[in-house]
Symmetry: C2
């Protein structure tokens, strides 16, 4: 008998109709011989309704009480889904995070799971029940309700799958899998049968927001087979795999192309070069809670250096202000900026064992007269910054050049 | 330092404005030197919203899942009220029934409290916190969420007051206390400074629905001083006391007059008299889930007997049908009925040590040409059934005759 953990997000359980559809699906899977644990989020809109109530009362709700409040959202869903299963003559039982002993640290609103007691779940599964667990929430060592932060329900599902040593953890979303790139930009984009967790992480953190980085990391740590599927259309989705040593020889050269619009870059030029420059420039940016992405420090000429970095476009103005404030202090020449850039990344574990991947990318872009402004590389990724007007064309060209188009 | 448990129902916390008003009140009480535990219900309307969601999914939701669902209502309120207190710089902490160890039996939707672990509450009180507890809910020995049924939040408040040996348990409602009778019928009706629990129970079960019978019984069992007050206007309310042996000498003759409209009576006449008649007639009524109130079996004449009883008027038709079906089976003569009757009860522990109270009632009614159709008495109560057209006049007359009018 296979043991499966399935997770349904807020949109998938967003109405009575959707909950009934999920119940129908589960009854079918159970009849096919699967033992099932289901992790659900709050019905879409519910968490926002609760947050609004809190904000009507205070501008700075305590994190502890916020967790008490928002955790009711998932509790409503587990009860309703269990009722829907029982209405279909399917034995089922709901559990809150606390009831099924999802022990976390005490960091309210972004707690980390420490351990899960799988005994209760196992005992229910053995009795032929579908077990319905509230995602996103847990309990700390003092019995306080905690929540795991954004995407926490995915993490709950993966953690339960790890604790139960489940055969598979299925994350139902509004897309039917992971694509080689965004099909809205490249109609020939293909759904990947499988992708490695590392590639998934690179694609995910680059903007393909299908799964939360954290749940993929968690799945990787415990080697939980993770599958992304659509809760609206049938299909096999995409399986996330974990690389074995030496297996990357067989991997495709690159798996996908991620891109990000709404980037901006800033350059502070002519800084007298001495140790600690990067820290002196980027420290104030970080203190302003602005995420810096690609960073490049040019080779020093005449004892001077230029530092260029990218930030989300929304933070461009405040970044410019901070840098202008630093010019005199650091004895720099001036600040330049461009808020019309975009980032493209090619991702693939195959890069590790193949040379020339980056070069193919650069040549392809050059052949199409697309100028590269910045380059950043990691072991399984090459990112370039280009003018945003070339974004679509660049992605389409690279998708074809790396043989990702569907046949 | 006095330790007080206060309870606010759904209307008292029915909006952000009401929750803020409760928080203002609590901060004031705390500043006056009271240690405070607050028990709250779900915001008015919330429980019905949740029940509707369940009913949209199934006609027969399981009691266990229903408890998981509706218990979220109070959980929302405890979080919001705690936030409102913290917004006022008042340390506060919320607890669900399960978190503060309100252990109940496993009878979902109408569980009974078995024990409460007061340690956690005490520790918070000692730290200068106001403790906010979800009413109506608890946890059984297996960790399942339970609810206490209608009026359960009152019971939670009383149980916590008992466990903490609180100085007083205050139940905030939409009335400012217990009155000698309904002021809408008798404008001279007075608010009672105090009333015994026994009298309260008789008045409460007779229709003065200020407190749930169960919470008063519970308070009586543990001798918790219970006070009923208004959450909308300031005032001392009514204190519910517990009779000491021999103290009833000082008690007023009668404390209040309760009445019930919408009653009906039925008589099955000429039944051959033999043991078990009452059971044979009332058994089928009880099986139809109809509550029988006053029952009178007339002295037997010629081996025949008449049995008369009252039921809620809504059940009159179905009762009549059941009795007509029994006439042949029992060899009775016929069935008569009257669905235009009302019940009036005078209640007072003073009756125990004073004779003639019932007679004063009968004489007063006779003097005003009000015919008594049935009489029923208990140790601290005399009830009569009269034609409903005389109800208002009878209550006003009795209120005056027993010196209950305000001076």
């Amino acid at each position: 008998m296979t043991l499966i953990v399935e997770k349904f997000g807020g949109t998938s359980v967003g109405s009575v109709e959707r909950i009934n559809a999920v119940a129908d699906h589960l009854v079918k899977k159970f009849a096919e011989g699967e033992q099932l644990v289901v992790v659900v989020s709050a019905m879409s809109g519910e968490t926002n309704r609760l947050i609004k109530l809190a904000n009507d009362i205070t501008e700075k709700p305590s994190a502890r009480e916020m967790d008490v409040l928002v955790s009711t959202g998932e509790q409503v869903t587990i009860a309703l889904l269990s009722m829907a299963l029982q209405e279909r003559e399917q034995a089922a039982r709901s559990y809150t995070g606390g009831q099924v002993s999802i022990k976390t640290d005490g960091v309210h609103s972004r707690a980390r799971i420490l351990e899960i007691d799988a005994k209760k779940i196992r005992s229910d599964l053995d009795k032929g029940r579908i077990v319905v667990v509230a995602g996103f929430q847990g309990i700390d060592s003092s019995g306080n309700i905690t929540t795991l932060g954004r995407g926490g329900s995915d993490t709950t599902a993966v953690a339960i799958a790890a604790a139960l040593k489940a055969d598979e953890c299925r994350i139902y979303t509004d897309v039917d899998g992971i694509y080689t790139t965004d099909p809205r930009v490249v109609p020939q984009a293909r759904r990947l049968e499988s992708i490695t967790a590392e590639e998934m992480l690179e694609l995910s953190s680059l903007g393909a927001k299908v799964l939360q980085t954290r749940s993929v990391e968690f799945a990787g740590k415990y080697h939980v087979p993770l599958r992304v599927l659509s809760s609206f259309v049938d299909g096999p989705g995409t399986l996330i795999t974990y690389e074995e040593e030496g297996s990357s020889m067989e991997a495709p050269l690159i798996s996908g192309i991620a891109f990000q619009r709404d980037e901006a870059k800033l350059t502070i030029r002519g800084i007298p070069d001495h140790p600690g420059i990067a820290h002196q420039v980027l420290g104030p940016i970080s203190e302003a809670h602005i995420n810096v992405d690609v960073i490049i420090q040019n080779a020093s000429a005449k004892g001077q250096t230029d530092l260029t970095f990218t930030v989300p476009r929304d933070d461009y103005e405040s970044c410019m202000e901070i840098l202008n404030g630093l010019v005199t202090e650091l004895g720099a020449r001036d600040v330049k900026g461009d808020d019309r850039i975009a980032k493209i990344s090619i991702v693939g574990v195959g890069m590790r064992s193949h040379t020339g991947v980056a070069n193919t990318m650069f040549k392809t872009l050059a052949d199409h007269d697309i100028n590269i402004q910045m380059i950043s590389t990691s072991e399984i990724k090459v990112s370039v910054i280009i003018d945003e007007t070339h974004l679509e064309r660049a992605v389409q060209t690279l998708h074809k050049a790396f043989d990702l188009d569907s046949v």
